[in-house]
């Protein structure tokens, strides 16, 4: 699970940097506060669909 978390975290933040994503906007679409967003990427949470959702949103960001 840690491998999954580290890899998806890296990919997500690369996309955030590449597409200049506003974290406030992203966290709104995820239904959470910005603070919670950062917390979820500091320590892996058990709701893995959060990471899937974040990655999906980032892949489609700007399309």
């Amino acid at each position: 699970m840690n491998d999954f978390f580290q890899k998806i975290k890296k990919d997500c933040f690369e996309l955030i940097a590449l597409k200049k994503v506003d974290i406030g906007e992203l966290s709104f679409l995820l239904g959470i506060s910005e603070k919670k967003f950062y917390q979820n990427f500091t320590h892996c949470i058990e709701d893995l669909t959060f990471y899937l959702k974040t990655y999906d949103l980032l892949v489609e960001w700007g399309e």
């Binding site: 709104f28 239904g31 919670k36 893995l48 669909t49 899937l52």
Partner: protein, 466 residues
């Protein structure tokens, strides 16, 4: 052996269409390997040249330079003059002349020699990369212990259509399911009698679950369509983590993603069951272990199907058109007061609240069909969803009591709306749930004076359009 009719979608789509896609992918891999081989050959040629230059560099004699003449001139034609002079001195047995050393020094300090050592190291590393890539391609073609990430990256750069890529990935997911190892039964001694069981009664259940899972897969297939290979790879990883019992799907809150995980679990379990059923020669006489295994797999498939059935009503369905709200009511505390105070907001913020209310009166919601939606995430188990709309820095949280009846929880600044709404959910979850039935209509009349006052303060006329 009883034959089972596969649903056309899976039997035909997966098996026959897959073959076409796989053939196309194989052609791509062959072409890709050809390119790799060509580059590898060029690299090997460069490495051979570098070895020759390296030998000359170590020897530092006329003979070694002349031996490397062809290679040197292929890399730097300007060395011809100096090499021709060396040939002249050598052939006239004048190699000991001082000019010769000068020419040799010039040649050995040329770019060809300067870059050679560095190039040699880089080229060796590149050669290893090419060899590794060629090996990975071969493994995929042989279907032998290949790397799934490598396969997905090849698919990504291939010329296959998205649908063809998805067919291949779907099949690969099937193929990667654990193989069932059936224990070889030992021959019974004459005096032993082993108890056997009939599992014929499970066959209709199996058929029903198979049909149901095929229907659900077809119905929700669109959730997987359009996902690229990385997205599918991550989904597959989550399925593995769930199957290893590291996390429970009970903790998954994002509905569409949870559905995708369940769908892939259904694919896996179906595949395992299909393989397992093929190993049973006589359904009337099976061992206890076989019976227990079959019951377990059927239960797993049933669970996965139940999860999807439970999630389906909560999956966002497309708004056909924005219709005006039938009714708006507000969550009130025990003193019949709303959860927000207008006086806490500036004039600009009140305008935004007014805009949000007008939007809701028009039936506008900030989410759309698909991945973009603004749904509040709560760790509480709720039987309703809480949505968020925003206007500038102000947001509203609300519950859809029915298609066009809204319960507004509160207004707040965007950064605070989450905590505020989560607090209200903790405190008033029961009340909100009860409003989904008859209590709603009794509140409508009670709140009318409050609403009139609020709308008046915000400058909203009922029926006003933005």
């Amino acid at each position: 052996m009883i034959e089972f009719n596969y649903n056309k979608i899976w039997g035909v789509m997966v098996n026959i269409s897959f073959e076409n896609s796989w053939n196309k992918f194989e052609d791509f891999i062959h072409e890709y390997m050809q390119g790799l081989q060509t580059q590898k050959s060029l690299l090997e040629k460069s490495i051979r040249s570098e070895k020759v230059i390296s030998a000359a560099s170590q020897d530092r004699t006329i003979a070694s330079v002349l031996k490397a003449k062809e290679v040197l001139l292929s890399l730097d034609a300007t060395l011809k003059v100096d090499i021709d002079m060396l040939e002249f001195f050598e052939s006239n047995q004048a190699s000991l002349l001082s000019q010769v050393q000068g020419i040799l020094n010039k040649i050995f300090t040329s770019q060809v020699f300067q870059n050679s050592a560095k190039n040699s190291l880089e080229n060796q590393k590149k050669l290893q990369v090419f060899e590794a890539n060629i090996l990975e391609c071969q493994k995929i073609l042989e279907g032998n212990e290949y790397s799934f990430p490598y396969l997905t990256s090849l698919l990504e750069v291939s010329s296959l259509t998205e649908k063809e890529k998805l067919q291949i990935l779907s099949k690969v997911v099937y193929e990667s399911s654990p193989k069932i190892e059936i224990e070889q039964s030992l021959p019974l001694k004459k005096t032993e009698v082993s108890k056997t069981f009939s599992v014929e009664s499970m066959l209709p259940i199996y058929q029903e679950l198979l049909n149901k899972s095929n229907l659900l897969s077809h119905k929700y297939y669109y959730l997987l369509e359009g996902k690229n290979s990385s997205q599918l790879e991550y989904l597959k990883a989550v399925v593995s983590i769930v199957q290893d019992h590291e996390v429970s799907p009970e903790d998954f809150q994002y509905i569409e993603e949870k559905m995708c995980v369940c769908l892939l679990e259904i694919f896996d379990t179906k595949k395992i069951l299909e393989e397992f059923m093929k190993t049973i020669p006589d359904f009337k006489n099976v061992s206890e272990q076989t019976k227990d295994s079959l019951e377990y797999y059927l239960e797993c498939l049933k669970d996965a199907i139940s999860q999807i059935d439970a999630l389906a009503p909560r999956l966002k369905t497309q708004d056909i058109a924005s219709q005006p709200a039938d009714n708006l009511i507000f969550l009130m505390n025990d003193h019949n007061l709303p959860m927000f105070h207008l006086e806490d907001f500036s004039a600009e913020e009140k305008n935004r609240i007014a805009n949000l209310l007008r939007g809701l009166l028009q039936g506008k919601k900030d989410y759309e069909r698909g991945v973009k939606h603004s749904k509040l995430l709560s760790e509480q188990k709720l039987d309703f969803d809480v949505f968020l709309n925003k206007n500038g820095d102000i947001a509203v949280s609300y519950v859809l009591l029915s298609n066009m009846n809204f319960l507004i929880l509160t207004f707040d600044r965007k950064k605070d709306i989450y905590d505020a709404s989560l607090y209200l959910l903790k405190k008033y979850q029961g009340k909100i749930s009860s409003l989904q039935s008859e209590n709603f209509f009794s509140l409508l009349g009670e709140q009318e004076p409050f609403k009139q006052e609020l709308f008046s303060q915000l400058g909203i006329e009922r029926g006003q359009v933005l």
